[in-house]
């Protein structure tokens, strides 16, 4: 809490040392979950303290590596032994939790319900069960809510959050505000009024006529009951949603966009970066996974490969035991280099477009194998670290 603005972090290590919360976001399928886990593990090893990775849906092998198998919403400590094969002893503690949407909603209701009767009625309401379990928007809200809950308990020095795969990458940012707006809405009051007073006022009558025809009276009554129950928690919910929104824009919170340089993820990452800036949220880092090696873009080598392709027969002559195969291999090798060069140059251009926005931009090369153990996580973490 110093008066002057701190210097921009130059490495992910510096960034993490200065923040309480890192929210990993970005398009799906780019290694977001793995990157979040790798950073948390590396922070526990390098920086110490209590580090939590709050993950949403890890691949089973990754979950196994973290010792997350079969656990739910509760945070569990990753035993130091898990670091053993990687020959690293964590200075701090690594904790992990997996988001269970349904469980989190139920906990939230339990915390906010004014009395046991209301609580049980809400938990048993079919609409509540649908909203909490089946429909996707509720995941976005609950992920941020859970983050707030854990952060306010103050048990961790650093929390790395892996955001849920959203329909729109920004849904989870808007979710707390939407929730607050929703509970403050006039429509909510309209809906509840007739079932209290049996009196439909002039303003709400057209709405009723439409809603009744579309949804049927019984369904409307179900909805009303649900919201009458929910209204008892109104102020608690709104306050909470606002607090969650404040936490996201707090200076101790930073965002990390994880992407690859494939065309679609890059476009989403650019969009995300622009939106974070527009909302005055702190974009700490962009991590680009699966980046092709630089040598593929070298102009001299590109020329060389072109000439190798053209002169394959001449180059192959007497080079190995089988000139015919050698000629084919040289041709294919050169062609392959040129092909990957096209992709590497396209990706480099896209990387340049992203580089202005964040404090730190990190590229991670293609790994030979998928990451599914602590050694792999720490290897990835080390590449991102500094």
């Amino acid at each position: 809490m110093t008066a002057q603005a701190p210097a921009r972090a130059r490495t992910v290590a510096q960034l993490l040392a200065a923040k309480d919360i890192v929210i990993a976001c970005g398009p799906g399928g780019v290694g977001k979950t793995t990157t979040a886990a790798a950073l948390a593990a590396t922070a526990a090893v390098e920086q110490g303290g209590r580090v939590l990775v709050l993950t949403v849906d890890p691949a089973r092998r990754l979950a196994d590596a973290l010792g997350l198998k079969g656990i739910g919403n509760d945070e569990v400590r990753i035993p130091d032994d898990a670091f053993g094969p990687a020959a690293a002893r964590p200075r701090g503690e690594l904790w992990a939790a997996m988001l269970d949407t349904k469980q989190s909603w139920d906990d939230l209701i339990r915390a906010h319900a004014p009395d046991p009767q209301t609580r049980e009625q809400i938990l048993a309401n079919p609409l509540y069960q649908n909203i909490s379990g089946r429909f996707v928007q509720s995941h976005d809200y609950i992920a941020m809510e859970r983050l707030y809950e854990i952060h306010s308990e103050g048990k961790y020095d650093l929390i790395v959050v892996d955001t849920p795969p959203t329909r729109n990458a920004l849904d989870f940012l808007d979710a707390p505000q939407r929730m607050a707006d929703f509970f403050s809405s006039r429509l909510l009051r309209w809906l509840i009024v007739p079932y209290r007073s049996r009196l439909v006022n002039m303003a709400s009558r057209p709405f009723y006529q439409v809603a009744d025809r579309i949804l049927g009276t019984q369904f409307l009554a179900d909805i009303s009951e649900f919201f009458i129950l929910f209204q008892s928690m109104y102020s608690g919910f709104v306050e909470r949603a606002e607090a969650v929104t404040r936490l996201l824009s707090d200076r101790r919170t930073t965002f990390m966009i994880v992407s690859t340089l494939e065309a679609t993820p890059v476009r989403e990452a650019e969009f995300f970066s622009a939106e974070l800036t527009a909302r005055k949220l702190h974009l700490g880092a962009i991590v680009l996974n699966k980046v092709l090696p630089e040598y593929l873009r070298d102009a001299k080598t590109d020329k060389l490969a072109q000439s190798m392709e053209a002169r394959a027969a001449e180059l192959a002559d007497g080079l190995t035991e089988d000139p015919a195969v050698a000629e084919r291999v040289i041709g294919e090798v050169a062609q392959s280099f040129l092909n990957f060069g096209v992709v590497a140059r396209r990706e480099a251009e896209q990387q340049a477009e992203l580089s202005g926005a964040p404090d730190v931009l990190v590229t991670v090369p293609f790994f030979d194998a998928d990451i599914y153990d602590m050694a792999g996580l720490l290897k990835l973490g080390a590449l991102v670290w500094d």
């Binding site: 057209p206 180059l315 293609f366 194998a369």
Partner: protein
């Protein structure tokens, strides 16, 4: 490779997949292929990013379909516009100023009544099929994490709402969605760990939680096999320092990066082929798997869309 000759005979195809695997590319390629076969195709975007139209090098579309290439119309889903159309066409409630709070009411209903957003989306596509405006409707659907919720919404609403107009509406939607001759789901993945896992999970969930049939799995970005076994032996001989030195001298520059790149290509291909095998082993028998090659392209537009269409056509035996 077993083909799926019936894929193009469907009326409504949802294309889904984990984010970033190229589901929009496949949706566009499928639309292109169908149009080349003489069909009138509507290709629908569900998240209004303009990606589909970009693949035809056309400007973005809105809720009203527009022809973006010969035989191909495009629209972008907008649930509020869908609600207006629905009220007007189905319930004959014109949207006039008198129903002032409609927009807010919509927001409310969509948030409060689970599945309303989903049903307005799916309902619009089913409506286009019912009205036979097009020979084929291709939906660039939500990512595989969300598609099940969307496809299951009509059934969920049907279970929740016992009377009312919505109830009768969900019935004809369900009829179209459940009809295997009309509706199918295509899952796109890449031969990588998570996309393969997610596809295998999706196939199970679609079977258990929806009435929609899986029509095909498309594996995108399959890398070419660079070497035969004999090629690789010779390649290894070239990598001997002395031989590599000779090759560099003859070529007039250091060939090491060129050979390194080939090694990288082979490694990438190998890692991926184990995932591809895992996918093929885990899918139900008879579900066609279509392979699309990795495109070494400078950019993605009309040209790559035609390449994808051609590759899909070959895989379908056309």
């Amino acid at each position: 490779m077993s083909g799926a000759p019936d894929l193009l005979d469907l009326k409504l195809v949802f294309v889904t997949g984990k984010g970033g695997v190229g589901k929009t590319t496949v949706a566009a390629g499928l639309a292109q292929l169908a149009a080349e076969q003489g069909k009138r195709v509507l290709v629908c975007e569900t998240d209004a990013k303009g990606d589909v139209t970009a693949l035809f090098e056309a400007p973005p579309t809105d809720f009203t379909p527009r022809e973006i290439a010969p035989g191909i119309w495009s629209m972008s889903m907008d649930t509020e516009a869908s609600l207006r159309e629905y009220l007007k066409l189905q319930l004959r409630i014109p949207v006039v100023g008198r129903i002032g709070p409609l927009a807010k009411a919509f927001d409310f209903v969509a948030t409060a009544a689970p599945g309303v957003r989903e049903i307005l989306t799916v309902g619009k596509f089913a409506w286009e099929v019912k009205e036979r405006h097009y020979d084929l409707v291709v939906v660039d659907a939500p990512a595989s994490g969300h598609i099940v919720g969307q496809l299951a919404a009509p059934q969920a609403i049907n279970d929740l709402v016992k009377v009312g107009l919505i109830r009768s509406q969900t019935e004809w939607m369900l009829e179209i969605l459940s009809d295997q001759r009309q509706t199918g789901l295509v899952a796109v993945c890449t031969p990588e760990e998570m996309p393969v896992n997610e596809t295998l999970e999706l196939v199970t969930r679609v079977r258990e939680e929806t009435t929609v049939r899986m029509s095909a799995v498309v594996v995108n970005r399959v890398l070419p096999e660079l070497f035969s076994q004999r090629d690789e032996e010779i390649f290894e001989q070239m990598r001997e320092p002395a031989t590599e030195q000779v090759l560099s001298e003859r070529a007039g520059g250091a060939v090491t990066p060129v050979l390194d790149a080939a090694r990288l290509a082979v490694t990438l291909r190998r890692t991926r082929s184990t995932h591809l095998q895992r996918l093929q082993a885990g899918l139900p028998e008879g579900l066609p798997v279509l392979l699309l090659p990795y495109l070494f392209a400078r950019s993605f537009g009309a040209r790559t869309t035609r390449q994808v269409a051609r590759a899909l056509g070959e895989e379908l035996g056309l």
